[in-house]
Symmetry: C2
Subunit: 110 residues, 2 copies
Amino acid sequence: MDKRKRTRLRAAGWTVGTPREFLGLSDEEAAFVEFKLALSKTLQALRAAQELSQVDVAKRLHSSQSRVAKMEASDPSVSVDLLVRSLFKLGAQPGDIAKALRPRRRVAAT
Amino acid sequence: MDKRKRTRLRAAGWTVGTPREFLGLSDEEAAFVEFKLALSKTLQALRAAQELSQVDVAKRLHSSQSRVAKMEASDPSVSVDLLVRSLFKLGAQPGDIAKALRPRRRVAAT
DNA sequence: TGCATGTATGTCCAATCGGACAGATAGTAC
DNA sequence: GTACTATCTGTCCGATTGGACATACATGCA
């Protein structure tokens, strides 16, 4: 987005910026939600790799399908604890989790 | 500990083994407590590096000294969420956390 | 000795989390 | 069309968590 358009939008009362700016998140909060997101993605990937349904995973975790869906969606009602425990139960190794948390290479902003 | 002594102790009614065995933790549970422990240690290290008291840290986190003590002690009442949020608030980068989680090289058991 | 500082531990209660259920939506096969 | 499967979303209520407080313990210093 170029400066001109940005300015016009702001003048029209719009908030312009990144999702993080939009939501008014501080740096630490943003880092935390990204952290959770990385774990969610890892969980999804692990499930896909094992070709399981959410119901299957729920059984292994002694939980419910709806909670698994929320875990994968990084729902606010899901804690990092639950995500980490679940990853371990699905066979992830500590190293796998560490790997998943490494910050993605940043791509040039447009 | 040698085999002989181990056997004698068991005969005398003692449980012999790792803390994990002693507590009857499954692999995933053990992995999880180690995970938490790594975060606690990182928090302590971060505080030490900045030469802050627990009270100082508590202020930065908008929490209390007692909770900080429990975080560093990896108390059961402390969640991974709290630890991770705290680390970020103290300025840790995602990469730092990933690094802290990498499994330590195992040393020959005695 | 008393006093200050830093840390550890136990408890209380409000806030958050998590399993479970209901119901919605989407895709596929018959 | 119905039926089945997989996933998503909202809600409820018991369980866990977290800030706060009191208090104990340790160390250093005047």
